[in-house]
């Protein structure tokens, strides 16, 4: 009536998280600089149960810096 063949796998956790990032700063002049950053994070849920936690996010930013 009930299938318990997979019951022993419900408590398994198997997660892989990879994070990579690049950070760049360019000094245009003595006072002015350009900044950039990119980060990528990926999570792979290889033993999902009830819900799959797999997901990824890319974060990027750009800015100008001024010294005085």
């Amino acid at each position: 009536m009930f299938d318990f063949s997979l019951t022993n796998t419900y408590s398994d956790l198997d997660l892989t998280r990879i994070e990579a990032g690049v950070n760049l700063r360019y000094e245009v002049s003595k006072r002015l600089s350009l900044l950039g950053e990119y980060r990528w994070i990926d999570l792979d849920d290889e033993a999902p149960y009830l819900g799959d936690l797999t997901g990824s996010v890319s974060l990027y930013s750009i800015a100008v810096g001024y010294r005085f």
């Binding site: 690049v22 360019y26 797999t54 990824s56 890319s58």
Partner: protein
């Protein structure tokens, strides 16, 4: 929180005119302005647990002023509305030294769909769930304001007085799960507001001389929750087929008691006193000894927990190549006992009508709660370093020991104490210029690791379910007492390996680190727990010219966890 932050910043800017009487010796201000955004794919609960993904403005300010009268350092970073970091430091001729920091970020919390809580038997008995706020995304804003100001007068240079203040806040919403009916039959998920604030206010006095130093401090902490509890209307305790109130003597309350408070968060206050003595040279040893005494009070139940702890650090060099460091700690915790008087209503129908559970079966549900945290602990950490010849580096021999003696909790049959030994070997070296290497290996053995003895798996057999309609049926306390499985998530044996290396070549630095951990525990009855994890990190940084610098980082983390889980098969 905002008012306090504003007052502290105002105090900083009030001192600026005081510094303005003389022109600055050095000053530098940098303003950063930009924007950021994010793109997401699939679930974000874990991968973006501490990441804001809404995008927004990027604002940064860094100011540094140094003058004869004092100095001022200000650093601010704002990334969208949720992520901020501010630091302010100033000093007035070194007589007044002040530091304030503020951090805020958003943390995501998970939402349990409870999709596994749906089962029905042929007789109509169910385990079910209700999510009163389906699809709601949970999380909270975290804010931490930390401040310290020191006063040291030229007439008393050995004495330093300090005032400390710290306030942490969590505000948002999380999921609250409550169980109704008998046991796990009806689980309700609802939104619970989070409005938690922890505030520390302290004073400190330091007396420092060349041969000895003494420090004393006292801190008062208070934890409050804006919403003390939420409400739940429990199910009516009825037999699921006959719909009669034969179970009311097996529950303490049900729907007849109206909406009940659940997920209660009591206010807590804590007082901490510390005393520390330092002797830089006592027969060649550098000594540091301290004592900590605290009392924590649960203001809702008026329960106290007392803690007293003592710490000793000693270190000494034996010649130019050998260094010994030893750290020992002893502490004890004691929590008030509490008598739990179970509410015992009578059955309203069935063969036990008019009688309590105790009157039917002779079972006394009341008990005296004695804290499992009451204990005496002794810890020792020994580190013997040996500098090798030439550029072979330094080798360290490590031994950590811990003995926990619990007053009221058994971690194995008749055993209340846990003893662990960790032996380790560490090495670091700079074999050639620009290269740095580190490696460490540790192995731990634990006698009687923390475990729940006889907490799972009952071999008892009953012809009938524990029902009032079957007078000879096996009762719940008999099922529980017959459990034979020991559950744990603590290893009885484990091994850790770490390696790290960095190479600097010109304007480029590359570093690599790796960690491997493996542990297991099959000491108890039917216990079979193991965990294996490994993490590798690679970082590259380069400054090819004075105008350009870049960095790249890669992190990989793998983890496997195996343990037996007990899944209850519900039948009414």
């Amino acid at each position: 929180m905002r008012k306090i932050l504003f007052l502290l910043l105002l105090a900083a800017f009030v001192t600026v005119p005081a510094l303005a009487t003389d022109p600055p010796e050095t000053s530098e201000v940098e303003l950063t302005l930009g924007g950021w955004d994010a793109s997401t794919d699939e679930a974000q609960e874990v991968v973006s647990e501490y990441e804001d993904t809404d995008g927004g403005l990027l604002v940064g300010l860094r100011a540094e002023l140094h003058r004869a009268a004092g100095s001022l350092l200000l650093s601010s970073h704002v990334r969208g509305s949720a992520q901020q970091r501010h630091e302010l430091e100033f000093d007035l001729q070194r007589r007044v030294r002040s530091r304030t920091s503020f951090v805020s970020f958003y943390r995501r919390l998970s939402h349990d769909p409870m999709a596994n809580l749906e089962a029905t038997t042929a007789h109509g008995r169910v385990v079910r769930h209700d999510d009163l706020d389906p699809g709601r995304q949970y999380g909270f804003d975290y804010r931490d304001l930390d401040h310290r100001t020191e006063l040291q007068l030229p007439s008393l240079p050995a004495l330093t007085l300090a005032f400390t203040f710290r306030q942490q806040e969590r505000s948002g919403h999380r999921q609250s799960l409550t169980i109704s009916h008998c046991d796990g039959c009806h689980v309700t998920g609802q939104t619970r507001p989070v409005g938690e604030r922890t505030r520390d206010v302290g004073a400190e006095a330091n007396l420092s001389f060349p041969r000895w130093a003494l420090k004393a401090s006292h801190t008062q902490r208070r934890l409050t929750e804006k919403t003390e509890s939420i409400g739940l209307l429990y199910d009516r305790a009825l037999q699921p087929e006959q719909r009669t109130a034969i179970f009311t003597n097996r529950v303490s309350f049900d729907a007849l008691n109206g909406v009940m408070p659940v997920d209660l968060r009591p206010d807590i206050k804590k007082e901490i006193t510390r005393l520390q003595a330092t002797i830089p040279d006592a027969a060649g040893f550098a000594l540091n000894a301290s004592g900590v005494w605290s009392q924590t009070t649960n203001e809702y139940a008026n329960l106290d927990t007392d803690y007293s702890g003592y710490l000793l650090n000693a270190s000494r060099r034996f010649g130019p190549r050998v260094k010994l460091q030893w750290r020992a700690r002893a502490y004890s915790t004691t929590t008030d006992d509490y008598f739990v008087d179970i509410v015992e209503p009578v059955a309203q129908a069935g063969p036990h009508a008019g009688r309590t559970y105790r009157e039917v079966y002779g079972y006394d549900p009341d008990f005296l709660r004695r804290s499992s945290l009451n204990r005496d602990v002794l810890e020792s950490s020994l580190d013997l370093g040996l500098k090798l010849q030439g550029k072979a580096g330094t080798v360290r021999f490590l031994w950590d020991y811990q003995a926990i003696d619990r007053d009221h909790y058994e971690v194995a049959d008749g055993k209340t104490d846990t003893t662990s030994h960790v032996l380790g070997l560490a090495w670091n070296a700079r074999p050639v210029k620009g290269v740095r290497l580190e490696a460490k290996a540790r192995h731990g053995e634990v006698d009687n690791p923390f475990m729940l003895p006889n907490g799972v798996y009952s071999p008892a057999f009953g012809q009938n379910a524990a029902s009032p309609l079957a007078p000879t049926s096996t009762q719940y306390y008999v099922w529980r007492a017959s459990r034979i499985g020991d559950s744990t998530n603590q290893p009885s044996s484990w091994t850790e390996l770490r390696a790290k290396g960095s190479v600097v070549r010109g304007n480029t630095t590359a570093s690599l680190s790796y960690r491997w951990w493996d542990g297991e525990n099959d000491d108890g009855g039917l216990t079979d727990w193991s965990r294996n994890s490994q993490t590798a990190t690679l970082t590259l940084w380069s400054m090819p010219s004075p105008l350009v610098q870049w960095s790249v980082a890669y992190v990989r983390h793998d983890q496997e966890l195996d343990f037996p889980a007990s899944i209850a098969l519900f039948d009414g």
